[in-house]
Amino acid sequence: MTQEYIQSLRNNLKDFPPEEQEILLDELMSHIESGEDDPIMGKNKEERIKKLMSELGNPQDLSKGFKSIYRNNRFIDFLLIVIPYLLYPFLNVMYSNLMTTYNWVDVRLDILIHLPLVVVGLWRKSTLVTLFWVSTLVIQIFAMLISAQGYYGNLQTIIWLVIAFTLITLLGNIVWHHRYDALIIVFALLPLTMLIVGIVLAIINSSADLSSMPQVIDKLILDIYINFAGFGSGYLPFYGTLITISLFVLATNHNVRWIALGFYGLVIGLSRHHLNLFDEIQGLMAPPIYLVYAILPLVLVLLVWRLSQSKAQTQI
């Protein structure tokens, strides 16, 4: 009977990170253990368990109570991600207009404007807000430094690298803290992983075998790329990220959040944010490179999802 209660509570706490889930369940299991051993609760174990169950109440009510304490800030998190993100296109237009007069108004200003959002995320103790802006800014800084190719000079490059590595350290710290939560780890590391994959694929580009991939898929991928992805500012990266991140932040169901993350991976892959950089520098790459890049993040998300599910099943 008590096992059924714990199982039901576990199911109701599914959208909590596994580490937090275990802490909450441990406390309740300790409560059950105390009750089972307490003679005040009844003459025999059966009687004690019966009284204990009535005292425990409904597992749904208990999980609702915990959710109201720990999961009540999602909408504010959502706004802190979506509103600044929606302002991106307007800021870009503004930078383009101002750049003709003031040459310092470029991506650097954009990064500096968005840095306080990391501070806000930390202050609110919001993992999602902090991770989203940290990974966005790290990629922006590296993208800026790679495409600038030494334009900002040594001192500025060093300062930007220090900022980037500070942010990466922060990201590593958050990931370590959530090391048992596969969902958060994937959300945190996917964009950076794809940046690294982008760099590696760009390096091996010259050795790619053009004849090994089917032409139809190549054409489809390139069509999506040209029509929707654009060079860094297309519809697919912008609206795709907006929709998938909104779903990921607002959804309470664990599986829905994984699905949102899967589509987020697909958007990253198809929009090829981090390959665009190299396209601009060294021209279009071989189609197999794009194909690998488009499919890889989705495969990574699905793989980790599957692994985390099989791990959860063995725990039960």
Binding site: D26, G35, D38, E55, D61
Partner: protein, 108 residues
């Protein structure tokens, strides 16, 4: 939810702080102590007690630590903080004033 239930739910933080004002206790122990002190009048479900404990901890009125208990499993002991003591003092005063005024009004 009836008015009495609402009143009971509202008084949970005060009761918990009061019980923990003298010694640290774990959830099950708090439940039993409450039952004992109120002579069985206040019976609390886990669904009411544990979220209240976690909320009080989040607000800095309680702190907790895991300690080995008599059984196989560790127990999470809660103790009151100085902020919690101040809050208990203030709420206690307000509560006494509320009861006195309520009684006066009803008996007038």
């Amino acid at each position: 939810m009836t008015q009495l239930q609402q009143l009971r739910k509202g008084s949970t933080p005060l009761l918990v702080l009061s019980i923990l004002s003298n010694e640290k206790m774990y959830g099950y122990q708090i439940m039993r102590e409450l039952e004992k002190r109120s002579e069985g009048y206040f019976t609390m479900t886990a669904a009411l007690l544990y979220p209240a404990l976690h909320q009080l901890e989040k607000d800095g009125l309680l702190k907790s630590e895991w300690q080995a208990g008599q059984g196989k499993r560790k127990r999470k002991y809660y103790s009151i903080t100085s902020k919690g003591r101040k809050s208990l003092e203030n709420t206690n005063k307000e509560w006494k004033m509320f009861i006195t005024t309520m009684q006066k009004t009803l008996e007038a």
